[in-house]
């Protein structure tokens, strides 16, 4: 148990040790009596109910709520004004159309600018293509081979036949 819990428990214990806890003094008598459960329940409810009523009254009467109410009125008025403006705008469609034309022209001007850069890039691409083509040409060039020896003019034909065991013996016997 931590410090605060222990202190709270101690306070609770002291309070419950009160000999008159839960008892009430009868009016005019010097005797004690346990109050009826209904009365006790009412006592328990009285404070929260009072607090609730107090909060309600405060909410209704507080200046903050009136300020909020005024603000909401202002917002409503503003929305009315914007609604009126929009109505006025609807009545003047020519102005709106002109405005839209101006906007389109502007967008055209904006669109022209990238064409320049596109052209520039096209030049770059062409250069690249030329460079690639040049590389291709250099790769396709035939290699210079060493000249072949065509002076003998003899053709050597080699016939392959399996060697017999007798021939092999003769070959081995010959010095």
């Amino acid at each position: 148990m931590n410090f605060f819990k222990r202190e709270h428990r101690l306070t609770e214990l002291i309070r419950t040790a009160d000999p008159l806890e839960g008892l009430e003094c009868l009016e005019g008598e010097g005797t004690l009596a346990i109050p009826s459960p209904l009365k006790r329940a009412m006592r328990g409810l009285a404070l929260p109910l009072m607090a609730l009523v107090f909060v309600g009254i405060w909410w209704v009467a507080s200046p903050k709520t009136s300020v909020v109410r005024e603000k909401s009125h202002i917002i409503i008025k503003k929305s009315d004004v914007s609604f009126i403006k929009s109505e006025v705008g609807q009545k003047n469609p020519d102005i709106a159309r002109e405005k839209s034309h101006v906007a389109i022209k502007k967008s055209h001007i904006v669109r022209r600018k990238p064409s320049l850069s596109r052209r520039k890039s096209w030049v770059g691409v062409r250069k690249l293509r030329v460079a690639r083509a040049k590389r291709h040409i250099t790769q396709e060039k035939p290699k210079i081979l060493p000249p072949e020896n065509r002076d003998s003019g003899e053709m050597i034909v080699v016939a392959v036949r399996p060697i017999t065991p007798d021939e092999l013996r003769q070959e081995l016997q010959t010095p």
């Binding site: 222990r6 202190e7 419950t16 040790a17 004690l32």
Partner: protein
């Protein structure tokens, strides 16, 4: 309610009767708590009533009437308790009224033990504790009633709690 203007003469018996009727049940409970006896509380309240009626003309401000009666009751009950202690008549058992059926035996035992521990405290610690936790008086009111500085009262309350904490360490775990 009392409607006497401040600063006027308060010698009227009717005004005192009104004040006394309004405060008597509270003073009786206070007498029970401080003295620890229901039988003695009746006599003590009566005694306070008689002395208050005699000295009522000396009261300057009617607003301080309840505090004045509280102070008188506390001092009367403490004097009675001191006399009982001197004569060894105080048996050390606090008032234990018959509690409701819903109260468990465990709670009753804890409360009885706490009562006995509180009763064993010295009067300088016991009275502020009772007035604060049982009677629900504020520290300023208690300091006024006991005629001690506020700082002294706070240190006494702290000391009383410290002693209780020490003696009831098992139950606080």
């Amino acid at each position: 309610m009392l409607s006497q203007p401040v600063g006027t003469s308060l010698r009227s018996d009717a005004v005192f009767a009104q004040l006394w009727e309004a405060e008597r049940p509270r003073l009786w409970r206070l007498a029970v708590r401080v003295s620890g006896s229901v039988d003695a509380a009746d006599d003590l309240t009566q005694d306070v009533g008689i002395r208050a009626a005699q000295a009522f003309s000396e009261l300057r401000r009617l607003e301080s009437g309840p505090a004045w009666l509280t102070k008188m009751t506390v001092h009367t009950a403490l004097r009675w308790r001191q006399r009982q202690r001197d004569a060894s008549l105080l048996d050390g058992t606090f008032l234990s009224p018959d509690s409701g059926p819903e109260e468990t035996t465990l709670q009753r035992d804890a409360a009885a033990r706490m009562r006995s521990v509180i009763d064993a405290l010295p009067e300088t610690l016991r009275t502020p504790l009772i007035l604060h936790y049982w009677e629900g008086l504020s520290c300023r009111e208690i300091a006024e009633a006991l005629e001690i500085p506020l700082g002294t009262l706070l240190s006494r309350l702290f000391a009383a709690r410290k002693r209780l904490r020490k003696q009831l360490s098992d139950e606080l775990l």
